[in-house]
C-alpha cells in the first residue's frame, strides 16, 4: 500500500494524479476463509481490521450485499461520545472514543476526528439529576466529562436560547473530547487497511443462506457462490433479524427508521455538538458548513429507509425553539436509516446458539460512535471464541436473566 501524505499528493499533482492506487482491491471470493464477516459497514470492517491487527487472523473475507459503508455507517449524524452512565457502556464507548483519537494515523487515512466537544443539555430537574449522576460515574470510570453551568453552555454555544422559555437550560453534561468524524472515511479507511492486510472485501455479494453441520457453522451461500469458513460474524445493522433467521435463531430486536437531515451550508456558527433530549433533537455543524440534525426514531417496524415527516417536524420545532437563529435557514436534505433496537436499547455482542457464529448488532441509534470499540471487542470475541471483557456484559443471555444495560436511566431517550 502506498502511504498517503502531503508529499504523495504533491508527487501525484505533477502527473495529474494518475498514479493513485485503488484504496481497496476488488477480489473474487475464494472457496473458504478462516473468518467470514457478513456486512462491510463500519462495525464489520473494524472487526476484520482488529482480527488482523490484534490477533493475526488475516484470511478473512468481508461480504457486503451492496456497497461498503452503505448502511448506517454512511447515514448517521457522526456523533462520537462516551458519556454513558452504566459502566459496561462507558467501557466500550470510551474504548471506541479513545481509538478514534488516533484512528487517522493508525489507518493512514484521515477520518477527520474532530473533538469539538459534546454537550447534552439538561432542561428539566430530572435531567440535571441524571447528568450529574453520569458525570460522577464518568469521573470514576475514567471518562472525562463534567456538569457545566448555563453560563458555560452559553460560552461554548452562544446561539442556544439559554432562558427557554419553555425549557430553560439548567446546565449540561459536557464531554470536551467528544465530537464528530467523517463517517464514510471511517469505513473507507478500515476497508483500505483490511485490503492491505490481504483480506478480501467482496461487495455486491449477498448472503442467501448460512450453512451448518451439527450445530456448527460451515459457511455461507451467496449470490456469488458458496464460501466456506471456520467462524462467521454477523454484523449487519438493519438486517440482523434476517441473518439470524437464516442462522436459525431469533433476536430481541425490532427494526425501525431513524431520520436525519442537513441544512444548507453556512459559515461556522456552532462549534460543538449539542444534544437536547427533553425536546428530542441534536445538532452539530459539519466541516462543510451544514447543520447536521437528528431526532428520535420512528416507532413502528420499517425496512424502507424512509421515515415519517412528523418526526422531522418535531425535531425541527424543538431545535428552532432551542436555536432561534436557524428559523430562516433551510432544510436541504432529509434521509432515513434502519436501526435495530434491542429490549434495553443496548447492543448485543457475542456468541449465538449456532456454534462459531457470532453476532454484533442492536446498536440502535448510537452505532457510529462505537465502531472502533465494537470492532475491537468483536474481533477479540471471535478470535478467542468467547467474549472479552468489553463484550461480555453485552451477551444475549442478559435478557433472560433480567440483567439490562439501560442507558435511558440518565438521558430518557436514545443515544
Amino acid at each position: 500500500m502506498k502511504r498517503y501524505s502531503a508529499f504523495a499528493i504533491a508527487r501525484e499533482a505533477l502527473r495529474h494524479h494518475t498514479g493513485w492506487q485503488r484504496a481497496w482491491r476488488s477480489p473474487a471470493p475464494k472457496p473458504r476463509y478462516d473468518v467470514i464477516i457478513i456486512g462491510a459497514g463500519g462495525h464489520g470492517l473494524a472487526t476484520a481490521y482488529y482480527l488482523g491487527r490484534n490477533h493475526g487472523i488475516r484470511n478473512v473475507a468481508v461480504l457486503e450485499k451492496g456497497w461498503l459503508g452503505g448502511g448506517n455507517t454512511g447515514r448517521n449524524t457522526t456523533i462520537i461520545r462516551s458519556n454513558y452512565l452504566q459502566d459496561e457502556s462507558a467501557a466500550i464507548y470510551e474504548k471506541a472514543r479513545s481509538l478514534y483519537e488516533t484512528l487517522s494515523q493508525d489507518l493512514n487515512y484521515n477520518i477527520m476526528f474532530s473533538p469539538r466537544g459534546v454537550m447534552m443539555l439538561a432542561q428539566t430537574e430530572h435531567e440535571v439529576r441524571g447528568y450529574r449522576r453520569t458525570a460522577h460515574a464518568n469521573r470514576l470510570q475514567g471518562v472525562e466529562t463534567r456538569f457545566i453551568s448555563p453560563a458555560e453552555v452559553r460560552e461554548i454555544a452562544p446561539i442556544i436560547a439559554i432562558d427557554g422559555p419553555r425549557y430553560p437550560v439548567l446546565g449540561a453534561l459536557w464531554q470536551p473530547r467528544g465530537g464528530t468524524a467523517r463517517h464514510d472515511a471511517v469505513a473507507w479507511g478500515y476497508a483500505r487497511a483490511c485490503s492491505d492486510m490481504g483480506m478480501d472485501i467482496i461487495q455486491q455479494c449477498e448472503v442467501t443462506a448460512i450453512r451448518q453441520e451439527r450445530g456448527r457453522v460451515t459457511g455461507v451461500e451467496t449470490t456469488r457462490g458458496t464460501i466456506g469458513c471456520d467462524k462467521l460474524g454477523i454484523i449487519v445493522a438493519g438486517h440482523s433479524g434476517q441473518l439470524a433467521e437464516m442462522a436459525g435463531f431469533r433476536l430481541p430486536i425490532e427494526s425501525v427508521a431513524l431520520q436525519a437531515l442537513v441544512s444548507e451550508p453556512i459559515k461556522p456558527v456552532l462549534d460543538t455538538v449539542v444534544m437536547a433530549n427533553t425536546v428530542h433533537g441534536y445538532i452539530s455543524q459539519s466541516d462543510k458548513g451544514e447543520l447536521v440534525i437528528g431526532g428520535g426514531a420512528d416507532g413502528f417496524n420499517n425496512y424502507t429507509q424512509r421515515g415519517s415527516f412528523h418526526h422531522i417536524e418535531e425535531t425541527v420545532r424543538a431545535l428552532v425553539e432551542t436555536f432561534p437563529i436557524i428559523s430562516r435557514l433551510k432544510m436541504l436534505r432529509q434521509w432515513g436509516g434502519i436501526v435495530d433496537m434491542t429490549g434495553d436499547r443496548s447492543p448485543i455482542i457475542g456468541r449465538t446458539p449456532l456454534e462459531n457464529c457470532f453476532i454484533n448488532c442492536g446498536w440502535g441509534t448510537g452505532g457510529f460512535k462505537a465502531i472502533p470499540g465494537s470492532g475491537w471487542a468483536m474481533a477479540a470475541t471471535m478470535a478467542r471464541g468467547e467474549p472479552d471483557d468489553l463484550a461480555a456484559p453485552f451477551g444475549m443471555e442478559r435478557f433472560r436473566e433480567g440483567r439490562f444495560i439501560d442507558e435511558s436511566v440518565a438521558a430518557g431517550v436514545a443515544h
Binding site: H239, G241, Q242, R250, L251, P252, I253, E254, S255, G299, F300, N301, N302, Y303, T304, S308, F309, H310, T342, G343, F399, R400
Partner: protein
Amino acid sequence: MLILHCPYCGIHADETELAPGGEAHIRRAGPGSDDTEFENYMFARKNPKGVHFERWRHVHGCGKWFHAARATDTLEVFGTYPAQTTEPPEEILAHIRKRRPDWKGFQG
C-alpha cells in the same frame, strides 16, 4: 406517513393520530412460565422484512387499540382488525396470500 383504518370509529386515521405498539398476538407469559417462555414473551420479536402483524392505538382519536397487518418492506396495509382476538381474521389472511403468494403464513 401511514394511514390506517381504525376498525372502531371507522376513520382512516393519519399516523399523527396513532401510536404504534409493536408486534401483535404475543401471548403473555406470567407466573409459572419458564425462563425461555418469559424471555420470548418479553423480548423475542419476529421483526420480519415483509408481512407484520402489529398493534396500534388510535390515541388521538377514539383511544382504542387495534391490530394491523402491514408490510414492513413496502408499508402496504393488508387490513386492520380489532385487538380483541388471538389471531388475524381469515379475510385478512386471504388478502395477504393474494397479494403475496410466497408468504409463509401466520405463525402465532
